[in-house]
Structures are given as structure tokens and as C-alpha cells.
């Protein structure tokens, strides 16, 4: 998966991953892709919901042994 940045939220619980993603997205340029690494199962639902609310693109989520890698593309400022 193509990515421009990786955000490590290992071991962080809700709402921390969402907060970190929102903070990181301010630094990204439009079209860039962020990879989020999280162990919080909530991100499966929360990241798509966050993308819908903020108008960004949810690309994919990969699950591996309780570790989630989520890919999100920035669509607007």
C-alpha cells in the first residue's frame, strides 16, 4: 500500500487515535496518504466515520493479529 506518512498509535485507546489522525492531517497535503497503526478495535468503525464526517477518503484497513493498519487519503483542507 502506498503511503506518505505512518502514525503509530500502538496501545492507544479511543479517542486518542482519532485525535492523533486529526492532528496529523493538518500537516498533510491534499492527495497524501496516511497509514495508521493501532491496536484499538474501535478504529474499524471510527476511522470510516471520521472520514465521512470530515470529507476524507477511507482507503482500506488491514487486520493482523489484533494490529490494524488503516489507510486514509486527504481530500480537503
Amino acid at each position: 500500500m502506498k503511503k506518505d506518512f505512518t502514525l503509530d498509535c500502538y496501545g492507544l485507546l479511543c479517542p486518542m487515535p482519532i485525535i492523533k489522525v486529526a492532528q496529523k492531517f493538518k500537516e498533510l497535503k491534499i492527495g497524501q496518504v496516511l497509514e495508521l497503526i493501532s491496536t484499538d478495535e474501535g478504529v474499524k468503525q471510527d476511522i470510516p466515520a471520521w472520514c465521512k464526517a470530515t470529507g476524507n477518503e477511507f482507503i482500506a484497513i488491514e487486520e493482523n493479529n489484533g494490529e490494524y493498519r488503516v489507510y486514509i487519503k486527504k481530500l480537503k483542507d
Binding site: 496501545g11 492507544l12 485507546l13 479511543c14 479517542p15 486518542m16 482519532i18 485525535i19 489522525v21 486529526a22 492532528q23 471520521w50 464526517a53 470530515t54
Partner: protein
Amino acid sequence: MKEKVTIIIFSNDLDKVLAAFNIAIGSVSMNMDVTMFFTFWGLNVIRKEKSIKKPLNWMKRMLGLLNRGGADRLKLSKFNMLGIGTSMMKKLMKKSNMPSIKELISLAKESGVKIIACNTTMEIMGISKQDLISEVDSIAGVATYLATAKESKINLFI
């Protein structure tokens, strides 16, 4: 225009305040403007640990002795067990990498959450402006709350 969220914090229970801040910070991350009104017991959350100006009225003074302020003093609404339960919960939160209420206040402030203190409660309880933490944006009453709540999509009373 950004959507708005308004939260009244009436309680000073650790668990409830924690939920309030999680929702507030989550809302900011979802691109919404958040206003938090702290009233009655909730005012304790945004008070300094030590009151600077002691009120003259003896009943207000008594209340001040029993009703101590400061985000670190909040107790669980259940299983406080003279503080043992609360301190265990705080340890568990730390173990799960959850920020403390104090950290949540500065996190909220940094991300642009507006913090408003209720002037009526301050007057009744004899809490002065100097007794509030620096994160407080303004002191206001019910009209300010209603004006903000009217425009808000989400309105919570905690």
C-alpha cells in the same frame, strides 16, 4: 460553517467528566466547534487546587472547605471506597495510556475547545475569577449557553 457541539458539565464525578472530555476532543477531531459549560459541581473541574480568595461569608467558607476544587481531586461516581477505588481506576487508565483529566483539559484547550464557567455557581459558592484555572475562556450565564446551544447539532448535559 462548522457544526457545533455544546456540553454542559454539571457533575464533578471523574468518570462522567472523562466521558465529557472524550466527546469534546473527539468532536474537535471531527471538525466541529465545541463549547463546554462548567456549572455547579462541574465547576470544581476548572478550579485551582487551592483557592486564592477566601470568601467572607462563613457558609461559603465552610462549603469551600468541604467542596475542594481541582481536576486531580475528582472521584469516581461508583466504587470510590474512600479513594482506593478512584486511585485504582487512575492507575488502570494510566496503564491503558489514557490521559488524565488535567491532560485532557490542556489537550482540549490546545485543540480549540471553548471553556466557559458559570457565573451564578461562582457567586453562590464564593468562587472568584482568580480561583479558576487559566484555561477558562470566559465567565457567562444561561443566555450564553442557550444562544450557543440553539445553533448546536449536539447538546449534552453531563
